[in-house]
């Protein structure tokens, strides 16, 4: 879960690399570094944000270079542990994204042979191994190194005096961008967008030899051709414009991304796969896991199919008995746990479907079929528009299974989302920003909505929040309710309305301030709670969406009120590419 970039061509490499690393900062941002080959191999690396340390890198010259932005896994974030790492003589530099699992063994062997290690990282073994094999041919040296590595990697290597990058990947993402006499490499396509729209996705086990005029890709010792694909995202989508934060921009893009995902529809192969399924298992992590839970509640009640949801991180080690369709849900398409789980499902001969936002990402190549959501690039670390776009994709599956019963509901849902964006949640924010702890409760499909609301609150505002099924609060957590612990309750008409209302009264009796989301015009509810936030009185599917968006706004404005760094919350990275 780091980001890497590389450049070979005619431009000065340093600004290209720095700009690219900034676009990748969402993947990790505790330290960064770049190395360039000009008259000599020069390296600059620094702990901290790129914007704070970039001035120091400006002196690096050369039109070939590599860069790295780090989210620490081995060794704490400091100047020495930052990438690129160099060999003993300072002639070869390597950046790496992934984890080398057998690094301690390799490190011991290398130290016995006299190599001097400077950092605590797993990456440094790669560069020393390359050094051992190097005799003037970097490609051959990297090629000879890879078999001894176990784990996941995307590697870029450069050597002094040569305009060349050698790239290799296995189980970590790497994309090449093809320009005019120049080649870019990056962990994902966002840094490439401003320079080119032609990209090549490397496959696991590929090694690429990159020079300004030539690009050769090898797989298992054979030269192979990889197709050049055109990318449809544009660079404007990845800019913040006048918005204070990417997250706010992305919250406001939700009506459009929801609508576009619905409009894109489902292709016939995927449709067949969905119609044939007699049971569905979904695998996901984090926010995506919450969308699968919502799907479970909705699909089981609306289209009478049994649905299981599994966390990717657990699934791999504790595999349940599997049959029926397995759907992996991941925004980036690179979430390591989810992909590992999907591979496991394939070994059990289950049909597999990926729901992802990134065309050409790893998951699309692992799964049998892909249902693409059209959220566009999401830069804010907290998932917002990808969450609603995932719901759009999942709701389409529900709609298919119900023979199009919700066509009208889904094609108008973006209007209701647009409506709640106009709401003023200031009173609720004032309450939450003073609190150390908060509870989010709901029933049925609104239980995972509450969990997602709590997750958003935790991850960006650092207010400790717990999502609970409203009925479970009585079985323990009630002890924690105080006049300083706000409870956010989602209470909409339906079979659970009256029991939810009595839950709220119980909480009020413990003097906890209650913020309730109910349908517009629900006067009874508005009277018993402290703050009432109305959501449009529409279909259940739409209420799930609008309630989620209100909770996003609540988390966002609370984080702003507490002056948190909304787009880069501490200790988090956007796509978790290590297990």
């Amino acid at each position: 879960m780091c980001g890497i970039v590389g450049y070979v061509g005619r431009r000065e490499a340093t600004p290209v690399l720095i700009q690219g690393l900034k676009r990748l900062e969402y993947r990790g941002y505790d330290s960064f570094g770049i190395a360039t080959v000009g008259s000599a191999l020069e390296v600059y690396k620094k702990a901290g944000r790129i914007s704070d340390g970039e001035a120091g890198a400006a002196s690096l010259r050369g039109s070939t270079g590599i860069g790295h932005t780090r989210w620490a896994t081995h060794g704490e974030p400091n100047d020495i542990n930052a990438h690129p790492h160099m060999d003993c003589e300072g002639k070869i530099a390597v950046v790496h994204n992934g984890v080398i699992e057998n690094y301690s063994e390799l490190k011991r062997q290398l130290q016995e042979r006299g190599h001097i290690f400077r950092s605590e990282t797993d990456t440094e073994v790669i560069v020393h191994l390359v050094e051992e094999h190097y005799d003037g041919d970097l490609l051959a040296a990297v090629n000879a190194t890879l078999p001894s590595l176990q784990g996941s990697y995307a590697i870029l290597a450069i050597v002094e005096d040569t305009q060349q990058i050698v790239a290799a990947r296995d189980a970590s993402p790497l994309v090449l961008g093809i320009g005019d006499s120049e080649v870019f490499a990056a962990s994902d396509m966002t840094p490439l967008l401003e320079y080119t729209e032609r990209v090549i996705y490397l496959e696991d086990g590929d090694i690429a030899d990159i020079t300004p005029d030539r690009l050769d890709i090898f797989h298992g010792g054979q030269r192979v051709e990889r197709p050049i694909e055109l990318i449809s995202w544009c660079v404007e989508d990845t800019r913040k414009g006048g918005f204070a934060h990417y997250m706010l921009k992305e919250i406001f893009e939700q009506p459009q991304s929801f609508y576009e995902t619905i409009r894109a529809g489902v292709d016939d192969n995927v449709r067949q796969m969905i119609m044939d399924a007699d049971e569905i298992t979904l695998v996901a992590c984090g926010t995506s896991y919450h969308t699968t839970l919502i799907f479970k509640y909705l699909a089981e009640s609306l289209c009478n199919i049994s649905v299981r949801t599994e966390m990717g991180s657990e699934f791999k080690y504790f595999v349940p008995p599997l049959h029926g369709l397995v759907i992996a849900v991941t925004q980036s398409g690179e979430t390591a746990d989810t992909i590992a789980a999907l591979k496991m499902a394939k070994t059990r001969n289950c049909p597999t479907l990926a729901i992802t936002n990134v065309q050409g990402s790893t998951v699309t190549r692992v799964a049998d079929r892909t249902l693409l959501m059209r959220a566009g690039p999401e830069i804010g670390v907290a998932a917002t528009k990808s969450y609603t776009a995932q719901l759009a994709a999942l709701m389409q599956i529900i709609n298919l299974r119900c023979d199009g019963a919700f066509n009208d509901v889904l094609s108008h849902a973006h209007l209701a989302i647009g409506d709640v964006l106009l709401y003023d949640v200031r009173d609720a924010v004032a309450l939450c920003s003073k609190a150390d702890h908060a509870f989010f409760v709901g029933r049925g499909a609104f239980y995972p909505v509450a969990m997602e609301g709590a997750l958003k609150m935790k991850e960006i505002s650092y207010v400790h929040a717990e999502g609970y099924a409203a009925g479970e609060l009585k079985h323990g957590p009630f002890a924690l309710l105080t006049p300083e612990t706000p409870v956010v309750a989602i209470c909409t008409p339906g079979p659970t309305y009256s029991v939810m209302a009595s839950n709220i009264k119980e909480m009020k009796a413990r003097r906890a301030p209650v913020i309730a989301l109910g349908v517009d015009g629900d006067k009874e509810l508005a009277e018993i709670v402290d703050i009432f936030i109305p959501i449009p009185n529409t279909h259940l599917l739409v209420q799930v969406l609008t309630a989620s968006v209100v909770l996003q706004l609540l988390a966002y404005h609370t984080a702003c009120a507490l002056q948190r760094d909304v787009d880069k919350p501490r200790n988090l990275a956007k796509s978790v590419t290590v297990e």
Partner: protein, 384 residues
């Protein structure tokens, strides 16, 4: 390098209920927000350093500006106190002579060409009802006085709000309105030239949008995206966006513009001066003339829509009629009489056989079957 500051922070409250989700500058006329015409006029004159001041519903304006090809700077006016306050918000971006323009009035490129040569000048225009504007008293080609919205106007010459200034105007911005700063400059002996505009249009009240719409539709270029059935009859300039389907035997007489992803049913008739937004559904046998239909509206079959403005997301069932007529109406603190069919806010829902007769309907109003509506209906009301 000449700079330009576009003021797009104000709501435009006289256009309510249409300004619920967006400021006046973002209201679509011929399917383009008004501010886009202003930006175009500047770009045509080679003015590329553009600062837009946003405030009311700023997220929607910013999202829109980000999608433009031309890069524009955005500054935020936190509270909408007035035009001079908005200009102060942009002060840090100003380095050279600059133009100030309201983002919610139409202006053509020729008018900009006339004023961009001048330092300290104001574009003025003649208007039949000057008391809605700042009335300008001119002597020897110089501005003598600006009287804001007077009861009895001494002349028909009004301010377009478009001025050219040098950066040393900022010390004169003592109050929250630009006309006060002008008076202060005149009092201190500065000369402000009055320059007649070539073409300038404003929409004060919602029904004025129809006139502006018909004026702007004269400038559209023909383009057919989407799927248009072979039996469709088109005359005049017609623009149809990508992803739109137009069913058999439909008649479209231009100038008409239709957005993206619409569904125009079979046997519908669309007459001149109509603008139809994105994702609009017109069911079969419906007639539309001289109207603005914004995004995501659905109009049922056998409807007759004339002289109407529909806000986004309205869902109107079959046999809806808008009937142009004129009656007295209290808008703000004025009593007005103007002929038009209907102005509907966002998300109005009407049951079958609803008739709108010279009527302004607020946002989110629900109407039961067979009603005839006249006059003003408040936001969120239920008509039973």
């Amino acid at each position: 390098m000449m700079q330009a500051v576009i003021l797009a922070a104000g709501e435009g409250s006289r256009l309510r209920p249409l300004t619920r989700s967006k400021p006046k500058a973002m209201i679509p006329v011929a399917n383009r927000p008004i501010i886009e015409y202003v930006i175009d006029a500047l770009l045509e004159n080679g003015i590329r350093d553009i600062v837009v001041v946003v405030g009311y519903r700023k997220e929607h304006v910013i999202r829109y500006l980000n999608k433009l090809d031309a890069p524009v700077q955005v500054v935020v006016q936190e509270r909408q106190l007035g035009t001079a306050d908005a200009l102060r918000a942009a002060e840090s971006e100003i380095t050279d002579d600059f133009l100030v323009l309201p983002g919610d009035n139409y202006i053509n490129a020729e008018s900009i060409a006339r004023i961009k040569k001048e330092r300290n000048a104001m574009l003025v225009a003649e208007h039949p009802s000057p008391s809605n504007f700042g009335v300008v008293v001119i002597r020897n080609g110089l501005v003598r006085e600006v009287i804001e919205k007077p009861e009895d106007a001494p002349t028909f010459t009004v301010s377009t709000g478009i001025c050219s200034f040098t950066p040393d105007i900022f010390p004169y911005l003592l109050t929250n309105e630009i006309p006060d700063a002008l008076s202060a400059m005149i009092a201190s002996g500065r000369r402000i030239r009055a320059i007649p505009a070539d073409d300038w249009q404003d929409a004060i009240y919602p029904w004025d949008l129809l006139k502006l719409n018909s004026r702007m539709l004269r400038g559209i270029t023909p383009e057919i995206g989407g799927k248009v059935d072979a039996s469709v009859i088109r005359r005049g300039v017609v623009r149809i966006g990508a992803g739109t389907t137009v069913g058999p035997n439909t008649v479209i007489y231009g100038p008409v513009t239709i957005g993206r992803d619409c569904n125009i049913g079979a046997n519908t008739v669309i007459m001149p001066d109509s603008s139809i937004g994105d994702r609009v559904v017109l069911e079969p046998f419906t007639y539309v003339a001289d109207s603005i239909i914004m995004d995501d509206v659905t109009v049922g079959s056998h409807s007759r829509i004339v002289s109407a403005v529909f806000g986004q997301g309205c869902i109107l069932a079959d046999h809806t009629t808008t009937y142009p007529s004129a009656s007295f109406m209290e808008v703000g603190d004025r009593v007005l009489k103007e002929e038009f069919g209907a102005v509907l806010g966002d998300g109005v829902r009407a049951a079958p056989f609803t008739t709108f007769k010279n009527c302004i309907v607020g946002n989110g109003v629900t109407i039961e079957e067979g009603k005839t509506l006249v006059g003003l209906i408040e936001d969120g009301a239920r008509v039973i």
